[in-house]
Amino acid sequence: METAIDQDDAANVKLKSLVALARAGDTDAFEILYRTHYRQVHALSLRLTCNGRRAEELTQETFVRAWSSLHGFRAESRLATWLHTIAVRAHSERERKDRRVESREVSSDDVDSYAHAARRAMPGTEIDLERAIARLPKGAREVLVLHDIHGYKHREIAAMLGVAEGTTKAQLHRARKLARSFLEPVDEAKRPSKKRAAPKPSMETQRP
C-alpha cells in the first residue's frame, strides 16, 4: 500500500517537473507528456468525432492548445482530465464552426467507416457498441462516452461541457435508452404493422 502511494508521489513529482519544463518552452518535456497521454486523448477524440481523420486532427489540436495553455494547468487535477476537457471544448468549437458551413449528419456509411476506424485504433473494441455510440446525437454521445467509458462523474462532465449537472444526467439516460434500442434485435413480429393500424385522421379530413 505504502509502495503504491510512493509510486504515485514519484509520478506526481515527475509530472510536475515535466509540466514546469514544458511551460518554460522545453518541447522535449512536452513530447514526454504527449507520449504518456495521447492514447487517452485519441480514444475520446475518435468517439466524439466518429471519424478517423477528424479524430487525429482533434488530438493534434488538443495538444497544440495544451501547449499554449500550460500556464493554466494546476497540478491538483490529473493531466488526462485537463487534456480531455480541452478536447471536448475544441470539438464543440469545431462543430459550431462546421455547422455554419454545412449541416453534417452521421449517415450509415459514416457509421460503418467509423466502426472500422475504431476497430483499427482499438483492436479490443466491440464493433456493435461502437456503431451504437456513433448513431447517438452529439450531446448524448458526449455524456455517455465521458461517463461510461472514461469514468467521469456528472459534476466533472457538467464542468467540461459547460452545462448543468441535471442536463448531463438527462443526456445519459437518453443516451443509454437510445443505445439499447440500437442494440436490440428488431423483431418484426412484435412491431405493430403499419397496414393494420387504423389511420390517423389527417388535417384534411377534419376540415368541414
Partner: protein, 178 residues
C-alpha cells in the same frame, strides 16, 4: 484557458460500455505535426513585457535616459535567456525523474537569478537623485514586476519573486496615499 478540476475519473460504472477500451492508437504518429506547430509558437517562461501593458505609450521612447535603462534591461534579459539556451543545449532530454527534477531546478534558478539581477539594477536606479531617475525607473520596474509575476506563477514561494512582489505592493500603496 484556466481549467482546474480537483477531481478525476474514478472507476467506470457497470454496463456494456464500461468494457470498451479507453485508449486508442492513431494511424500515424501525430507528434511531428504537433512539434512543428508548438515549435513555431512563442516559448513560455521568462520574457519581458512591453511597458504599454502597464498603461500609457511605450516608456522607452520618452527620453535618452530611458532608452539607456531599456538597453541595460534588454542586455540582462538577453544574458539570462542566453544562459538558459546554453544549459538546455548541453543537457540531454530528461529520461529519468532525477534528470527532470534537476532541469526544473535549473530553470527555476535561472529565473531567480534574472529577477535578482533586475532587482539589483532597480535598487541602484532608485538610489539616484530625483532628476536622474525619471521615467527610466518606471521602465525597469515594469520589466521587473512582469518577470516577477511570471516567476511567481512558476513557483509561488520563490524568495526573490515574493520580495519583488511585496516591494511592488508597497510602492503602489505609497502611490495611492500621495
Amino acid at each position: 484557458m484556466t481549467i482546474d478540476e480537483k477531481s478525476s475519473p474514478d472507476g467506470r460504472p457497470p454496463g456494456p460500455f464500461s468494457n470498451l477500451p479507453d485508449v486508442a492508437e492513431p494511424s500515424v504518429d501525430l507528434w511531428p505535426a504537433i512539434e512543428g506547430r508548438v515549435g513555431a509558437d512563442t516559448p513560455y517562461g521568462l520574457s519581458s513585457v512591453s511597458a504599454t501593458d502597464r498603461g500609457g505609450r511605450p516608456l522607452w521612447q520618452r527620453s535618452p535616459w530611458l532608452q539607456a535603462a531599456a538597453a541595460v534591461v534588454l542586455f540582462a534579459a538577453g544574458a539570462a535567456s542566453g544562459l538558459g539556451i546554453r544549459r538546455e543545449a548541453s543537457v540531454p532530454p530528461p529520461s529519468t525523474m532525477n534528470e527532470a527534477l534537476a532541469l526544473a531546478v535549473d530553470v527555476q534558478r535561472t529565473g531567480s537569478e534574472y529577477i535578482a539581477a533586475l532587482a539589483a539594477f532597480t535598487a541602484v536606479v532608485d538610489s539616484l537623485s530625483q532628476d536622474v531617475r525619471g521615467q527610466g525607473t518606471s521602465a525597469a520596474f515594469a520589466t521587473l514586476y512582469s518577470a516577477a509575476d511570471q516567476l511567481a506563477a512558476l513557483n509561488a514561494r520563490d524568495p526573490n519573486a515574493t520580495s519583488v512582489e511585496m516591494d511592488e505592493l508597497n510602492r503602489s500603496e505609497r502611490r495611492v496615499r500621495f
